[in-house]
């Protein structure tokens, strides 16, 4: 089968693995977008900027304060998550009652401000972040840096923990109930506005966590999230934002599709996700895991 396309298996498996790593980031980011949208009814355009802030926070902690990667992996999402909570309290709260578009525009403006300030202060060229787990394994068909393998596993764990927290725990049940009917949940004595604030903080922390994980793979730069967030939007349209598991599966799946395209027809690898989006819109407009409203 592989001989028909005359693709060397090394290239195929190598690119699929790289695709899986990209997919890990798509999954983590679209998951955060879905969680935030479910609760706040806001598409968080700032997601890419918050992902970048996560990476930057880790880089600054390392270079300025000598905080190692493993500590930054916990500290950076907390710092960025708190920043998200402040944003929610001060600004996002004021647009919930308006059309969805205003939340989109507000977070777009915030992304411009954040990315502009980082670019102004640190320039647009990237800074390297040393890999916390150097070395790697020869898998026979390719050389796998240990850190990249770790990222895939870590992303899977993060996604599954988030899924478990929302679908299987009591707090998650409150959250889902508040999404369905906030007034009723309030009548039961649950502080819904605080729940919303916490959800946004969690979603933002998730983006920052993805940013920290990305730091050793990519260069840490002010614009690292700008294009990524646009691809993640396409991922979200393909998956539909209705289901948490849906975002995870779609994210990883599209990473693989992208990797596969890189082997078969490299020039299309940038655009294949958008083509998939067009096909999904034709066949199943609500998205693969979405419900038609």
């Amino acid at each position: 089968m592989l001989d028909i396309f005359s693709i060397p298996p090394q290239a195929l498996f190598g690119q699929l693995l790289l695709g899986l790593i990209n997919g890990a980031f798509y999954a983590m980011l679209s998951l955060g977008l879905a969680v935030i949208f479910g609760m706040l009814n806001v598409i968080n355009f700032t997601h890419g900027a918050q992902y970048m802030m996560g990476a930057f926070a880790a880089w600054l902690m390392l270079t300025e304060l000598d905080v190692p990667f493993w500590a930054a992996l916990i500290l950076s999402p907390i710092v960025v998550g708190l920043f998200g909570i402040v944003l929610e309290r001060l600004m996002l709260r004021r647009v919930y009652h308006l059309d969805h578009l205003y939340g989109f525009l507000l977070t777009f403006g915030l992304a411009l401000i954040i990315e502009g300030l980082f670019q102004w202060r640190w320039g647009s060229s990237g800074a390297p972040y040393p890999s916390p787990i150097p070395g790697g394994t020869n898998l026979g068909f390719m050389f796998l840096p240990t850190y990249r393998g770790f990222v895939v596993v870590a992303a899977l764990v993060i996604c599954l923990v988030t899924w478990y927290a929302i679908e299987r725990t009591k707090l998650g049940a409150y959250l889902r109930a508040a999404t369905e009917n906030p007034t009723l949940v309030r009548a039961f004595g649950i502080n819904v506005p605080r729940l919303i604030t916490l959800t946004y903080g969690l979603g933002v922390a998730l983006a920052a966590l993805a940013g920290v994980l990305a730091a050793p793979i990519q260069q840490v730069s002010a614009l690292m999230g700008t294009n990524l967030v646009l691809v993640v939007f396409a991922v979200v349209v393909i998956g539909g934002m209705g289901s948490i598991m849906g975002s995870i599966v779609t994210g990883f799946g599209l990473g693989l599709v992208e990797g596969f395209t890189k082997v078969v027809y490299p020039p299309a690898s940038n655009t294949v996700i958008f083509v998939v989006m067009a096909i999904v819109l034709l066949v199943k407009p609500a998205g693969l895991f979405g419900q038609t409203k």
């Binding site: 411009l112 691809v231 958008f274 067009a278 819109l281």
Partner: protein, 310 residues
């Protein structure tokens, strides 16, 4: 009524005399963006569809114009027509897909398609990649009757193109078709139950908006002599949203005001460099939180309130 006539007259005199007061290239650029913003606003204000990827029509039309006029050596008129048709065709394809979803999804889908077009433009040979298409010569119009080498001469051509596009939008909004479009915007189910095929109306509005955006893009390429990746980038898509937002979503003249503000900011605040984006972001935030009606919307409200009192 007399006040209104007087106002229109004043604007006309100002538009004709403007190039002797303000730098003409700035004015021409602002007019192109004003037309672009009007096209965007037609879709948002009258069909309730917010496209976050309108740069794809603006930028691709600039490339079509540049390629036909520079590489194929077509006359300018044909170049513009080709660019408008090209943008309309792109609008037909992306629009047919995008209108399958509504609201916020529509914005995300158009954004994603625009990003796809951007990636294609980086790779395809006919766009000149990172360099763009440079040195598109200005050629005289109408068999040499109208000279365009001179900025002052070209200004009136651009003004005429702007008025043509603006007039087309105005005519469209005030036609029975525009009325149906508004009905769909306000209550789609009811319009459908009355027998209107909502999707067809939305698609036609989308194609028209894309075509006018294309007219603006081609004209801009003619004015500044080049077409670059900036014109198709998501930054330009965001800027046109900002223009409509500053002027007032859903007002006819608002986008024109917004376009002049944004283009002036780019030109006169160039010295702050990257901080222009920060300023744009701040404007987004302030308008969304405090002045959702925009400049023209707020003034119109103030005017109405004043008339009620007197």
């Amino acid at each position: 009524m007399n006040m209104r006539l007087l106002g229109i007259l004043a604007v006309a005199v100002l538009a004709l005399a403007a190039p002797w007061i303000v730098y003409p290239v700035f004015l021409m650029k602002a007019l192109c963006f004003a037309l672009f913003a009007c096209a965007f606003n037609l879709l948002l204000g009258y069909a309730g569809l917010m496209s976050f990827g309108h740069a794809m029509f603006f930028g691709m039309a600039a490339y079509f114009f540049g390629h036909t006029v520079k590489v194929w050596d077509w006359p300018v008129e044909f170049g513009i027509v080709a660019a408008v048709l090209g943008a309309a065709l792109l609008g037909l394809i992306t629009g047919a897909l995008a209108i399958r979803r509504q609201g916020i999804y529509f914005a995300m889908i158009t954004l994603a398609f625009a990003q796809m077009i951007y990636f294609l433009c980086v790779q395809m040979p006919f766009t000149g990649g990172e360099d763009g298409l440079q040195g598109i010569a200005r050629k005289p119009l109408l068999f040499g009757l109208i000279p365009t080498e001179n900025d002052y001469g070209l200004y009136y051509v651009v003004l005429a193109i702007f008025l043509l596009g603006f007039g087309a939008i105005y005519r469209f909004i005030h036609s029975p078709f525009g009325q149906v479009l508004k009905a769909i915007r306000d209550n789609e189910q009811r319009a459908v139950s009355l027998g209107y095929e909502a999707d067809r109306y939305k698609l036609l509005a989308f194609v028209l908006s894309a075509a006018v955006a294309g007219l603006a893009g081609a004209t801009k390429a003619m004015v500044v002599h080049f077409a670059t990746l900036t014109d198709v980038s998501s930054g330009t898509s965001g800027e046109v949203v900002l223009m409509a937002l500053i002027g007032g979503l859903g007002t006819i003249t608002g986008p024109v005001v917004g376009a002049f503000v944004v283009v002036a900011m780019q030109d006169y605040l160039a010295f702050v460099g990257q901080l222009v984006l920060v300023i744009q972001g701040v404007i987004f935030v302030v308008i969304v939180l405090a002045f959702r009606k925009g400049v023209v919307g707020e003034i119109a409200d103030w005017w109405k309130a004043r008339r009620k009192i007197s």
